[in-house]
Amino acid sequence: MARRFVCSVTLVFVTFLCCLAAPKKPESDVAVIVHPGVGETDLALGEIRRLLLGDRQFWPSGQRVTLMIRAPVARERDVVLKKIYQMSESQFRQYWIAKVFRAEAVAGPKIVYSNAMATQLVRAIPGSISFVSAENVPPGVKVLRIDGRLPGEAGYPLR
């Protein structure tokens, strides 16, 4: 009985070590996608930040900016919070609740649960903007350049 227990523990430990030793798959960049009707193709990171903070709620064409962001725990949300908002999850929530209650914004970011849902909504809602993994960018949406760089290019900030 004791031998069997020792064998099992050993097996689990070996398996764990194997897992740790296995080669890690490289993570893709987070692409900024917008409705194809949006005129902009290239935005500075600061402009994107203003859009996401709700300071800028309309595109130059007059279209309302509809902001969509992935639900918590999603990698894209973490990247956006870290690189653009530079806030923690709780700071992000508190920021938008305060902004809505101060009536500085009619609506906060809409939560989407998957990259597919995000791309689907961006395609459907004019002026909408969202963040999806660069690997999952389907046709029918526009990927914006950030500071002149597309995902995958050197110096792309959302990585």
Binding site: R64, W96, F101, V106, A107, V112, Y113
Partner: protein, 531 residues
């Protein structure tokens, strides 16, 4: 114009001003009420707008919270009860918008109607969002982003515009209310000022009006009061003061008339008084003629005379001899005429010797000396008077005179009681034995002789020569000593001139009686008996 009319006009003017003031008060009050109603309506609308705005903002926040919750629990549809409550809340807000529409005036109604339409669309969009929440998240977000949010933006703008408009209306109504208040206050103050000014003007006018007339009336009354009844008050007005002045003038005229009558009456009265005084003087004169002066004064003073006792009086009686025979020969008029002549002469003589005539009884004449003023010389003066009486009678005893009488004179001296009796036809009289004896002296005498008693003799013997007759029987049967007075003692005629009182007589008289003799009969100078 009468004072009553003037006062009525003034009262009406002030009443009119009060009426205007009251009208302004009611107008201002009505305006204030209307403005207040407008303010209240505006405030009510503002409340409703704020309420609706709050509801919508709450819903917006609720949606955001839902989105947030959905991010944590993205599973399952919204429970039907919650959905119904959400719809009910939306319905309630919609009803308030309808209520707001009812309260909104016509000019602001289009904005509310737009709000109503927008809210209707937003409600529908929110309901769709709610129905899809947790079921079709894409549809929910799409509805929210595509419809609800643009509508929310629009409705927030509309609400802001409405809030602003209602705020403006409230402010405008408030300003209007203040303006009405200001205008009303200004008008009220102006009317009050005007009323005060008019009241002061009216008061001053009436004060001067009354004062001027009252001064004229007062001055007129003062002049009339100083008995200048020719003065007339002239006001030149036809009001109550004019009537009062006319009444004053009429009264003055009547007073003048009455004064004229009174003056006439006074003049008549003075005339009467003078006549009465004259009559009184005449009466007194008559009384004095009838009575001795002192007795007359006593009657004047006391109305009566107390009987007086005179212890020393000479009573002189005369009686004409041949009078009875004359009555058969002479008519009554002739008798009276002759008696008048004799007695008038007797009166003058008696007066001259300060004797008191007492009375005449038929042809008898009675007088007294030594009363009512006591005078010790009365026996001498009675004899002097008797001589003059004799002379008077002798002078009238001539052929030309139909009544040729002689006279017996009797004198006695003694006490008497003197007084006045009766209430009519006063007569000063004397009583006592002296009177009777005097009468007996007369009746026992001889024509043109002076027969005196012993009492008289003893008093005159130092002045007159007397012829004793011895005891003579009187008609009463008494035997009395009697004397005829024949003349002045011769020694007393020494140095007698043609006229005047012989000095010797004067001297003796002065020595005996401490005064001058009042008169002296001329006959005695001629009839002196040699001593």
């Amino acid at each position: 114009m009468s004072i009553k009319r003037r006062l009525s006009l003034s009262f009406l003017t002030i009443l009119l001003l009060f009426g205007v003031n009251l009208g302004i008060y009611f107008w201002g009050s009505g305006k204030r009420d209307r403005t207040l109603a407008e303010v209240q309506a505006a405030v009510a609308r503002q409340d409703l707008v704020n309420s609706v705005s709050q509801d919508i903002e709450n819903k917006l926040k609720q949606i955001q919270v839902l989105m947030s919750v959905m991010s944590d629990q993205a599973q399952g549809a919204v429970p039907p009860a919650q959905l119904e409550q959400f719809k009910s809340e939306l319905e309630s807000t919609s009803e308030r918008i309808v209520q707001l529409l009812g309260l909104t005036p016509t000019e602001g109604r289009s904005e509310v109607e737009e709000l109503k339409v927008t809210f209707g669309e937003l409600s529908r969009s929110w309901v769709i969002f709610y129905q899809n929440l947790g079921v079709d998240h894409v549809e929910a977000i799409t509805e929210l982003a595509m419809h609800a949010e643009p509508l929310s933006t629009r409705i927030v703008e509309q609400l802001a515009a409405l809030k602003h408009a209602e705020k403006e209306r409230v402010s405008s109504a408030g300003k209007s209310s203040e303006e009405i208040q200001r205008v009303t206050t200004n008008l009220t103050l102006s009317i009050f000022g005007l009323s005060t000014l008019i009241a002061i003007t009216v008061a001053l006018y009436f004060s001067r009006f009354f004062n001027r007339r009252l001064v004229v009336l007062k001055e007129g009354a003062k002049i009339i009061g100083s008995m200048n009844l020719d003065h007339r008050i002239r006001l030149g007005s036809h009001d109550e003061f004019g009537e009062l002045a006319s009444a004053f003038n009429a009264m003055t005229e009547k007073l003048a008339l009455a004064r004229g009558r009174l003056t006439d009456a006074n003049r008549q009265l003075a005339l009467r008084n003078r006549e009465i005084a004259q009559e009184k003087a005449r009466s007194e004169q008559l009384l004095e003629n009838i009575l001795p002066e002192e007795i007359a004064k006593e009657i004047h003073t006391k109305g009566e005379v107390d009987p007086k006792y005179f212890e020393d009086v000479s009573i002189l009686f005369t009686d004409f001899v041949g009078f009875t025979q004359s009555t058969a020969r002479l008519s009554a008029e002739e008798l009276v005429e002759n008696l008048q002549d004799y007695f008038t002469a007797f009166d003058r003589i008696v007066d001259r010797y300060q004797l008191e005539k007492l009375k005449t009884i038929g042809d008898a004449y009675m007088c007294a000396g030594g009363l009512p003023i006591r005078n010790p010389a009365h026996p001498v003066e009675a004899v002097l008077a008797a001589f003059e009486l004799l002379e008077t009678v002798r002078e009238r005893d001539n052929p030309k005179n139909r009544a040729r009488w002689a006279v017996r004179i009797g004198i006695h001296t003694g006490p008497v009681i003197a007084g006045v009796v009766g209430i009519r036809k006063f007569a000063f009289d004397v009583w006592g034995d002296t009177v009777n004896l005097s009468s007996r002296m007369e009746s026992s005498g001889l024509p043109n002789r002076i027969n005196i008693s012993r009492a008289t003799y003893l008093r005159i013997k130092d002045f007159f020569y007397c012829e004793p007759r011895g005891k003579v029987m009187t008609k009463d049967g008494d035997a009395l000593d009697m004397y005829f007075v024949d003349g002045l003692l011769p020694g007393l005629l020494e140095g007698a001139a043609e006229a005047g009182i012989p000095p010797a007589f004067r001297k003796r008289f002065q020595v005996y009686f401490q005064r001058e003799p009042v008169a002296f009969p001329a006959i005695l100078r001629e009839s002196a008996i040699p001593g």
